[in-house]
């Protein structure tokens, strides 16, 4: 093999590079934000603005719509698919997600705080998505910008 050493060495490097994710996660537990489900179930039969499945995948688009309709169109009430109305406000979210949903009695309960059991951050950190809520809303102290 002509220049076999270099070729083999490069191949080893290439394979090592490809296997980084395997080693990076080795021995760690695949711990998704599971406590969410538990906290949601404590909401005695309530439902979020829309169904949980819908909210899980589309909440950002709904929030974007909310911003549009509240800030720009002046419509401050959202009527969901079941005909129930909600005030378009951060408070509507916090009502459940900040206090009852996360039964954390120590300190201030806020979904944006960077403790892993809090509502927004637990998923957002896991999926590495930065919410843009706090670029306008007064975020709580310690909220990730």
């Amino acid at each position: 093999m002509y220049k076999g050493g270099k070729i083999i060495a490069s191949l080893i490097l290439f394979v090592a590079f490809l296997s980084i994710p395997f080693f990076y996660n080795m021995g760690k537990v695949n711990a998704g934000p599971e406590n969410l489900q538990a906290s949601i179930s404590q909401l005695d039969g309530q439902q979020c603005v829309e169904s949980a499945d819908y909210m899980r995948s589309n909440h950002m688009q709904l929030l974007n719509k909310w911003r549009q309709s509240d800030v720009r169109d002046g419509k401050t009430v959202y009527v969901n698919s079941q005909g129930k109305s909600f005030d378009i406000s951060l408070q509507s979210c916090l009502e459940c997600h900040a206090t009852q949903a996360t039964k954390n009695t120590v300190g201030v309960n806020n979904p944006a705080l960077k403790t892993s059991d809090q509502f927004c951050v637990s998923c957002h950190n896991y999926a590495s998505v930065k919410p843009t809520c706090w670029s306008c809303h007064a975020g709580p102290e310690g909220a990730p910008k």
Binding site: Y2, N25, K28, G32, M60, Q61, Y126, A127, K130, T132
Partner: protein, 333 residues
């Protein structure tokens, strides 16, 4: 026809994946077995192809150069385009790999009718270079961005790429610049094969198929991100499980995710069999990676076998006496 076949092949792949994605019992196959299989085929095939290429003999210096060769001391050498040192070769290869140097020199030839008959004209053509550059770099950044699904905690550089890529913050989730660049570039690379007659003539299914496949991957990914939202947390659990060799199959991921995953698996499995191997092949192109020193060093063909020679001196030694008797003049008495 060649394009149609490739297009149909991709459509069939999409249909198969849609079927697999919508049948709960097939999720194990489409979510775990096929991705692993594709990864093994990619790595194994890649290594096999490279070693096979590496075994080809390269006895002589065949670099194609576009600069002044090293010559007399007062003639300035082009040290990068006609390298005589390893450093020069490294710089040359880096320009090739990162900036597609030789594609930058792409030219087009046109035949036009002039007053005195047809005129042939040559001009520089940078569009292919630009399109390729956007395509490849976007692809790389998209792959780096996808690491957020495979690594936990997500490293800072991945987050950095993510935030720079979504810097325009259009819509929610923010539109990635690379998504747009990628789609435009791959469309350009495809359309030029249809529009330019010469290119259409030389294009094969092996050209169309990867383009359609990559395009469908991009479109399925963008659909998933911007239109038919899926549960990202479940996707990450699946991806992380794969990376931890501890696969889990979270429920409630939309069928479109399985389409995306199956198309990527197809691309990975197909990769070593295809032209896409230029990813590894570019490093092994002797016209680029060789030092141009054929006038400085004598390169001997390694498989030249010893030729038995019988020189005149030996001949005379052998027959000297007989030659003398026959009156034939000899050089040595």
């Amino acid at each position: 026809m060649k394009a149609l076949l490739s297009f149909l092949a991709v459509i069939i792949l999409i249909l198969v994946a849609t079927f697999g994605g919508s049948v709960e019992n097939l999720h194990f196959l489409f979510g775990i077995i096929i991705p692993y299989l594709a990864f093994v085929m990619f790595v194994g095939g890649f290594v096999y192809r490279i070693i096979k290429w590496g075994r080809s003999p390269v006895p002589f210096r065949i670099p194609t150069t576009i600069g002044q060769q090293k010559s007399l001391p007062w003639i300035k050498q082009n040290k990068i385009e006609n390298p005589t040192s390893t450093l020069g070769v490294i710089v040359r290869m880096a320009m090739e790999v990162f900036f597609f140097r030789s594609l930058f020199r792409n030219t087009k030839t046109e035949l036009t009718q002039g007053a005195k008959g047809p005129i042939i004209s040559h001009g520089s053509a940078k569009w292919l270079w630009l399109g390729s550059l956007f395509f490849h770099w976007s692809f790389l950044i998209i792959i780096i961005r996808h690491l957020r699904f495979f690594l936990e905690p997500v490293p800072v550089f991945v987050q950095l790429f993510d935030s720079i890529d979504g810097i325009l913050q259009i819509g929610l989730p923010p539109i990635y610049l690379t998504d747009l660049f990628f789609l435009v570039a791959v469309t350009f690379l495809l359309v030029r094969r249809f529009v330019v007659p010469q290119l259409r003539y030389i294009s094969l299914p092996a050209d169309f198929f990867p383009l359609f496949l990559i395009m469908s991957i991009a479109i399925s990914g963008m659909l998933m991100r911007y239109f038919y939202r899926i549960d990202i947390v479940a996707v990450k659990q699946l991806a992380l499980g794969l990376a931890q060799l501890h696969p889990v199959l979270p429920e409630g991921i939309g069928a479109i995710f399985y389409v995306h995953l199956f198309l990527i698996s197809s691309l990975f499995a197909y990769f070593p069999l295809s032209k896409l191997m230029h990813m590894g092949g570019i490093f092994m192109s002797p016209t680029r990676n060789m030092i141009s020193n054929s006038r400085m060093v004598r390169h001997i063909n390694p498989w030249d076998h010893e030729v038995e020679v019988h020189t005149y001196a030996q001949y005379e030694d052998e027959f000297r006496e007989k030659m003398k008797k026959a009156g034939i003049p000899v050089e040595k008495e």
